[in-house]
């Protein structure tokens, strides 16, 4: 189904975006453990109400586990990896159309489905790589600083973020098929995902937000693995993929 030569070409084409994303994620992954003691001391000594919920602050600094999860998995990784997914996804197919290389690629002995699947796989691989390397870096720096972390649960929560980010990527790839200009496709996707994130800002509606579910809040707080949410995330990802393939296969170049 996937084609190795095209996969490598996609990695090469997206290398600059990947390195930038990795650099930013890695910098944050290093900074988060380094700032644990310092921010803890400063914030605990300040009266931040009503801007910061004291209970929330107490939860974050109750353990290094909570701090690392809240600052990495539930915040920086979710936000930056989603942004990276949009940046990577917007050029997936619109790039071929806008730079005029689509006829060259499509005249090669690959089916359109194979092209779409390989491009999507390459994008998801780069996302997983950036998220994986930066998370490993965070675990490494945490260990160097002598902080203990529930590594298993932490990695599972990072996996949940990846599942959500994959949906963001596949949704953006669909925009990249529909709008043959990477920048316009990226803007449209950003607006779409921005609107999709709105329920997450309401306590009552938060559970209906992809971005809330991908943080694995219930899993981290109560240890219950969110199977239904993961299933829905996977179905959403597949639907975006299937609709994207459908329109890609119908296009003329």
């Amino acid at each position: 189904m996937l084609n190795a030569a095209l996969f490598i070409k996609e990695l090469m084409e997206n290398r600059i975006k990947f390195w930038i994303a990795l650099a930013i994620l890695s910098a944050l992954a290093i900074v988060i453990p380094l700032l644990y003691d310092l921010t803890g001391e400063i914030l605990r000594g300040m009266d931040l109400a009503p801007y910061v919920n004291p209970a929330e602050l107490a939860f974050i600094y109750a353990s290094y586990d909570n701090y690392a999860w809240s600052q990495w998995t539930a915040k920086n990784l979710t936000q930056l990896a989603s942004l990276t997914a949009i940046v990577l996804g917007m050029g997936t197919l619109a790039g071929e159309a806008s730079y005029g290389t689509a006829p060259f690629l499509l005249s090669k002995p690959l089916s359109r489905r194979q092209i779409y699947a390989t491009k999507a796989a390459a994008g998801l691989f780069l996302l997983a790589l950036a998220m994986g390397i930066s998370t490993l870096l965070l675990l490494f720096v945490s260990a160097l600083k002598g902080y203990t972390l529930q590594t298993g649960a932490f990695v599972v929560s990072v996996f949940l973020v990846f599942a959500g980010v994959a949906v963001v990527y596949l949704g953006t790839a669909l925009f990249s098929v529909l709008i043959p200009d990477p920048v316009k496709a990226g803007v449209a996707a950003a607006v779409f995902w921005g609107l999709a994130s709105l329920p997450g800002f309401s306590r009552g509606l938060a559970q209906y937000s992809l971005f809330y579910q991908m943080k694995g809040v219930r899993y981290w707080l109560h240890g219950a693995f969110p199977w239904p949410a993961l299933l829905l995330i996977l179905v959403a990802g597949y639907l975006f993929f299937a609709v994207g393939v459908y329109y890609w296969c119908k296009k003329d170049f």
């Binding site: 084609n3 030569a5 095209l6 490598i8 060259f104 499509l106 002995p109 690959l110 170049f253």
Partner: protein, 296 residues
């Protein structure tokens, strides 16, 4: 297996109201060099794009090497080389990287051929594709189309922007790799003079339709012109012969385009006092314009 490398039956492509290709019945014999001629917008490029799967037909049937174009696209592309009009290749890649990428897509990639033609065309392997001239990009695209040793080569306006030397080298490569091996070449072009030198069969396209197809020799043999300069005004019924398809007049000088009955028309003209009476072979361009009605 039939003898057609390409066969279409009532093939159509409509973009809304616009009929880019309108019921095309085309047969390209295996082993031929077939030139699809037409003005810009005649539908030639769309035909090639439908054959290789870039454009979806609106109706009709199409076969490449005996395979149906809608259902067996990837299989067709394995055996068919395609070079589009002013091909765009990944500019950020070096020439070698493009070659490696394309080589990874085919089972029967010929590295020897690539090396030989890169040297012949003087294409530097380490250069980025965006640094090449348009002519070099076209040459690279030809090498990439020839390297998998295709059974059929589709070329769309292949020598746009070429100088005469590059054009010559380009067609030498096509002739050596395809024609000498008995393979088929289908070219789309509006450059009649160029096609006259390389093609053995022509198809004249106009407004999405194939208006005429035959071998180039047949066309030249059948399509003749009589040039005659009369000493006085000729009789009015002289040009009523059904074999005369077009009459051009300048004073008492006439050019008669003749499709049938050449001998008879010649005799009729000879019976009128004249200064000059001769048979000439028209340029392919004139024949084309006559068939498409653009010359009137």
């Amino acid at each position: 297996m039939n003898n057609w490398a390409v066969q279409t039956k009532a093939l159509r492509k409509h973009y809304g109201e616009k009929r880019a290709v309108d019921g095309l019945d085309l047969e390209v014999p295996a082993g031929s060099v077939f030139a699809l001629l037409g003005l810009n917008g005649a539908g030639k490029s769309t035909v090639l794009k439908m054959l290789v799967g870039l454009v979806h037909p609106s109706g009709g049937e199409g076969y490449c090497l005996g395979m149906e174009i809608r259902s067996r696209g990837a299989e067709i592309r394995r055996k068919v080389g395609y070079m589009g009009d002013e091909p765009r290749i990944y500019g950020y890649m070096s020439v070698r990287q493009v070659v490696r990428f394309c080589g990874g897509l085919y089972r029967n990639w010929d590295d020897g051929l690539v090396e030989a033609y890169m040297e012949k065309f003087q294409i530097p392997g380490e250069s980025k594709v965006h640094q090449l001239s348009q002519g070099q990009k076209n040459q690279l695209a030809l090498i990439l189309a020839l390297a998998p040793r295709p059974e059929l080569l589709l070329l769309d306006e292949p020598t746009t922007g070429f100088d005469p030397l590059k054009r010559r080298l380009f067609f030498q490569a096509v002739l050596q790799e395809m024609v000498a091996a008995g393979k088929t070449v289908l070219l789309a072009s509006h450059n009649l003079e160029e096609m006259e030198r390389v093609a053995d069969r022509v198809g004249l396209m106009h407004k999405g339709r194939l208006v005429h197809t035959c071998s180039l020799d047949e066309l030249r043999e059948r399509e003749k012109e009589i040039r005659v300069v009369f000493q006085k005004e000729p009789p009015a019924d002289l040009f009523c012969h059904p074999g005369i398809v077009q009459v051009k007049q300048e004073g008492r000088a006439f050019r008669l385009s003749v499709s049938t009955g050449l001998e008879e028309i010649w005799q009729a003209c000879a019976s009128v006092p004249h200064f000059v009476l001769e048979i000439i072979s028209p340029e392919l361009e004139d024949i084309f314009l006559r068939y498409t009605g653009e010359g009137r």
